[in-house]
Every structure is written in C-alpha cells, then in structure tokens.
C-alpha cells in the first residue's frame, strides 16, 4: 500500500504497518480479555463469600492498612497518567521525554510495590496471616481473656475480644475461620495483582531500553501503546481491588 511498506519495523508477513499495528493492538486487547477473566474468577469467589459472610468480611477488611491502600491508589493512577504521556511522546517522536515518562511510570509502579511489601510485612508482624499464625494468635488471645489478662494487641486479639462471651451461632459472633477466608482472598488477590505489576515493570524497563537504543521510531509507537494497555488494565483491576478489599470495612461501626 503506502510508503510505510519499506519501514524497517514492518514484519514480513504483514502487508503494511497499519495492518501490523491494528493486529498488535487487537492481540493485546484479546490478551487483556484473558486477564479480565483470570481476575474474574477471583472476583467471583470473593463475591460469593462476601454475600455469605458479610460481617466477617467487614471486620477483616477494617483491619487492613487503609492509608497504604489510599497512597497506592494515587501512585497507580498517576503512573497510568504518565504512561499515556509516554505514548504521546512516542507519537510525537520525542525520544527524551518518552524515556522520562517511562522512567517516572516505572518509579511510581516500583513505589507501589514497595509500599505493598511494607504492608505485607506489617500484616505479618501483626500476625494477620491466615493459617496457623492467625489461629495461634486468636487462641492465645482467648486464653488471655479467659484468665483476665490483656492480650497483646493484634487483629486476632480484637476479634477474640469481640467474640468474648459469645458462642458460635450467637448474633454478632464473628467466625475466626471466615476471617481467615477473607485473608486468603486478600493475599491471593493482591499477590497476583502484585505479580502483574512486576511483569508490567519489566515491560516498561524493556521499553526504556528499546527507546534508548532508538528502536521505537515514531511509526512504531504502538509498541508503547501495547504495553500501556496492559499497564492500564492492571491499574483498573486495582481500582476494584481497593474498594472490595480495603473499603469494605472502612466504615465499620459507623452505621
């Protein structure tokens, strides 16, 4: 078709760059569809359990660290913005600002992961991890309470205090097992999301390299765009994870 047939970035089996780019874009979108359904399975599980066990989920959610989540949301949305600026720079052929925007995006994403890691660490310190750790903390707190001691402060202890004097089945009793169910979902969902961020960071780093080596000429800006699609999707998933995991219990006790 056009002069672009001679472009060095045109692959042999495509007729022209237009076809190549739209194939790439469609391919990436189809991949995003698989990503959506991948997380969809998790969201579906979350929804089913949240409907069954609303109170435990609220309680468990309220013990997560909200400020980190808020901060991380801001970081991620901003990184999406800088990513779109990176596409713009690529479209305009401004190599330097392309690299700058990509680096900023990378740093924001890395900061997200950093805070996330700090949050995991804090949760771990507070014994807010499903399985034996939480169970032991809960049992210890119960033991302390029945013997009139003050249990060491932790989410498990708060739960034990809440449940003191109640039997399973009583109104207001919150099953420690189901709290752990929430925690399982929380760790798996944020963990898998974190892995996606990590992959995204890898792709952005690769873009920086390519751009530095002048391998992203103007007509090939769609490489940046394809990565950005992925990055936005990961951002978008966080926009759902954040309210479902952190905000569910944020207003606990206020109604």
């Amino acid at each position: 078709m056009s002069a672009s047939t001679h472009s060095p970035v045109l692959k042999h089996h495509f007729d022209n760059l237009e076809q190549q780019h739209s194939a790439e874009r469609l391919g990436m979108w189809m991949f995003l569809v698989t990503e959506v359904l991948f997380f969809g399975g998790l969201f579906c599980a979350y929804t089913a359990y949240r409907i069954w066990f609303p109170h435990e989920f609220e309680f468990a959610s309220s013990k997560l660290i909200l400020w980190i989540a808020v901060l991380n949301t801001a970081l991620l949305i901003t990184s999406s913005l800088t990513m779109t600026f990176a596409i713009r720079a690529a479209q305009l052929g401004q190599k330097k600002s392309l690299i700058n925007y990509l680096v900023i995006t990378f740093l924001l994403g890395a900061a997200f992961l950093g805070f996330k890691a700090f949050e995991y660490y804090t949760d771990y310190q507070e014994k807010y991890v499903p399985g034996p750790i939480f169970q032991k903390a809960y049992a210890d707190a119960q033991h302390d309470l029945t013997h009139g001691h003050h249990p060491e402060h932790s989410p498990a202890a708060e739960l034990a205090e809440h449940n003191a004097g109640k039997q399973p089945g009583d109104a207001g009793y919150l099953s420690p097992q189901r709290v752990q169910l929430f925690l399982c979902l929380y760790y798996i969902m944020t963990g898998i999301h974190g892995i996606h961020i990590l992959v995204g960071l890898g792709c952005i780093a690769w873009l920086v390299l390519e751009a530095g080596l002048n391998r992203i000429p103007r007509e090939n800006y769609s490489t940046v765009e394809v990565v950005s699609l992925y990055w936005h999707l990961v951002d978008m998933i966080w926009l759902f994870l954040m309210p479902l995991l952190y905000l569910t219990g944020a207003g606990l006790g206020k109604h």
Partner: protein, 108 residues
C-alpha cells in the same frame, strides 16, 4: 485487506494524539472518584456500600478504557473484544450466584 481494520493506526496523525489537557482532566476525575469512594466508605454506607463502590469503580474503569486505552477510537473489533470480557464476566457472576444466592447454606 480485511474489512474491519479501518481504525486509523499507521503513522500517527494529529487526530490520534491525545491532548495533554484531556489526559489531565481524566486523571483528575479518576483520582477524584477514588477520593469520593474512600470518603463515602468512611461514613459507613451500610448495605449500599457494595453497589456504590462498584458503581464508582465501573465509572473509573470506563474513563480509563475510553480515554487512556483509546477505546474511543472506535475500532469495532477492539470494542467488541473489550465488551466480550464484560459479557462473559457477567455470565460467570450471574450463573454462579444463581447457585450461591439460592442455596440453603447450613453453616458449619
């Protein structure tokens, strides 16, 4: 040449390139919605919480998809692809919940 690749996508034309101002406006709205979401949750919405939170999430997602992921460029196949993911999510939710909402669940 196939019949559905008329979405202009070759050497970028001015038409394709985002205006920085529109990007920033979208950014401010998305951030604002997130803030609103957090604010609303802190006041304790009770039963309304889940639908409100999800509605806000959906609006945000639409904004991102439309402006930042360029769905607004109206490449039909891409739009359909994006919508198909929602459609099948919907199926998964509705049919799975058809079990969970109507199952008599005897707790442990």
């Amino acid at each position: 040449m196939s019949d559905d690749s008329h979405g202009a996508d070759h050497a970028p034309t001015m038409h394709d390139i985002d205006k920085p101002s529109s990007l920033v406006v979208v950014f401010l709205i998305v951030i604002g919605l997130s803030a609103a979401n957090i604010g609303l949750s802190l006041t304790g919405l009770g039963k309304l919480a889940l639908p409100v939170q999800l509605a806000i999430g959906v609006v945000q997602a639409c904004l991102v998809a439309n402006y930042w992921m360029h769905l607004r460029r109206k490449d039909t196949v891409v739009t359909l692809t994006a919508l198909s993911s929602l459609f099948f999510m919907f199926i998964m939710f509705v049919l799975t919940l058809s079990d969970y909402l109507t199952r008599h669940y005897a707790a442990m």
